[in-house]
Symmetry: C2
Subunit: 333 residues, 2 copies
């Protein structure tokens, strides 16, 4: 059972001191050529790999960031986490990923895990806003960046798309194409409030047009399906003629429901516009017009903020990065 080959085993086997082995690893220039060779030979003879945990305990401060997303299975977050991983790699950090699945308890579990693990910072898309747990963590010095569409979170750095601007783009596109009975569908409200706000604002600029909100509990295809079916049950003259969905997945669900009814056409009868530009959007039954979120830029901004906060510590001035969205015109609106 040769398990547990540590720096000590290497030292013994090579007949040198522990300190020398450590130096050979971390400051090769401080060690004579033949020692270095000897130690290195011994190391890979024994198959030594440094125990990064112990190292971190000693040195304090590692190289790992924690990230909590709402749902890995949501393509937007898959893309975002991937982008963060790439951005972190460029800065010499790693990202470990957790998926809260929109469950506050799972979110808490990951916060605990990451805190115990002493990660260097946290990137989180909060299920339901900033919790006391997070505030405490942050106050105790944990660098923290929120992916929160609501930039007003006080005391935290946030990174987000400018959801209001995105919503305005979407809604004005609908209005300009002659729609005037709009519906906004999305939820939970907290996560989409800015989109809703922007939509309302834009509608306000166009007298004679109306918008109503239809809430969903999550943001996937199933929720959209349910909403679509509900809309179909309304008398045709009451149905919206333009729908802005807070998420592409929701939009796709709505589309599927609508198209399953005979005689309902998209976009002729109902124009539909989504949000995120996930890859599915372009391959939907009717290619989906949507608002693009530039995940790579989001990721870069988030990493830059979290690392800055790590450097500058408590006296850090919190920033709110708001990235500009873009309208992607396809067929559905």
């Amino acid at each position: 059972m040769s398990r547990a080959v540590g720096i000590r085993q290497v030292a013994e086997h090579a007949g040198v001191s522990i300190g020398t082995v450590s130096n050979a690893i971390n400051r090769p220039e401080m060690v004579s050529a033949k020692m270095l060779a000897l130690v290195q030979a011994t190391m890979d003879e024994l198959g030594f790999v440094r125990n990064d945990l112990a190292r971190q305990v000693r040195m304090g401060g590692g190289t790992t960031l924690g990230m909590i997303v709402l749902n890995v299975e949501n393509p937007f977050f898959a893309a975002l986490s991937n982008a963060c991983e790439a951005a972190a790699e460029q800065n010499g950090f790693s990202v470990v990923l957790g998926s809260s699945s929109q469950v506050p308890e799972r979110e808490d579990r990951y916060l605990d895990l990451f805190e115990g693990q002493r990660v260097e910072g946290l990137l989180v898309a909060p299920v339901d806003g900033v919790t006391d747990r997070m505030r405490k963590l942050h106050r105790h010095g944990m660098p923290f960046v929120l992916f929160d569409p609501d930039a007003a979170v006080p005391g935290f750095c946030t990174v987000a798309m400018d959801g209001e601007a995105g919503a305005r783009l979407a809604v004005s596109h609908l209005l300009e194409s002659g729609r005037n009975r709009l519906a906004f569908v999305g939820g939970p409200l907290h996560q989409v409030r800015d989109r809703w706000r922007g939509a309302v604002e834009e509608v306000g600029r166009h007298p004679g047009s109306t918008i109503r909100r239809i809430d969903t509990i999550d943001q996937n295809v199933q929720d959209g399906l349910a909403v679509g079916e509900a809309i179909l049950r309304e008398p045709p003259e009451r149905r919206p003629d333009g729908i802005f969905a807070a998420t592409d997945l929701i939009a796709i669900g709505i589309m599927q429901a609508l198209l399953s009814a005979p005689g309902v056409r998209v976009p002729e009868d109902v124009a539909l516009i989504g949000y995120d530009d996930i890859s599915q959007a372009s391959t939907a039954i009717v290619p989906l017009t949507t608002i693009r979120q530039p995940t790579a830029e989001l990721a870069r901004a988030a990493l830059s903020l979290v690392l800055t906060e790590r450097e500058e510590g408590v006296d850090h001035e919190h920033q709110h990065a708001l990235l500009a969205p873009a309208l992607v015109r396809r067929r559905s609106a």
Copy 2:
């Protein structure tokens, strides 16, 4: 700067010994009621959280598993990693996720990271088969489970769908619906060899039917698009009348390309069948007939194997779990 509050600070502040604090945390029954209360009060006054790294250094053996998938953005792997995380949670473990993006160097990087981190075991979908790096790691005692469709990997536990059976299901479905000029599209070959084998085998059972293979370099919508366009460039009488794609994403790409050409219908002119049953499959332009991979069962099997290997150690007899796939009939075939 109250940073770094450890068990020692708690002990001092409460006026007890370090050992007592540790006992209060880990064996509360060995500590008198009032001590326990005192210590706990002190702990959350100071905001103490145990340093799991140090704990692991001392105790040896943590509670974290590493997982490397080919691409988080691929919905199948998103679902699989999610399922693994859930399964791990039930066994009191956590999973940290890495995405190799099919790049061997990134795969290696994660292997190194996880080894240094002393994870308790590894779940990996290998980019290009078992590498020396993996073999060495495994030989040094790292529990290892491969998500590899090729069950013949010697010396390793593997978990996979029975790709041959899945392919037979798919192909026989195509043949029974009257198609006989089939094409298999997928790649890299290593990752889909079993599907290809099963397809060939089934075709062999039906005299008069043929199948050819079209290789792709990756497994996403783009690859499918390219193949679809290539097929459209062939004269109609040479085109396949049934296509079995190694992946839903590829199938969706092909579908999109085919349907963009006027007069080509799915499934009337070309029947199309995918593999994985990702959520996108049901929301495609023509809902996609596909082979379902039961990710939850895959995950459970993988976890059970990796934990078993962890318990039983070197003398462990390696198992190959092969799960049965199912045909999901929708509209495309």
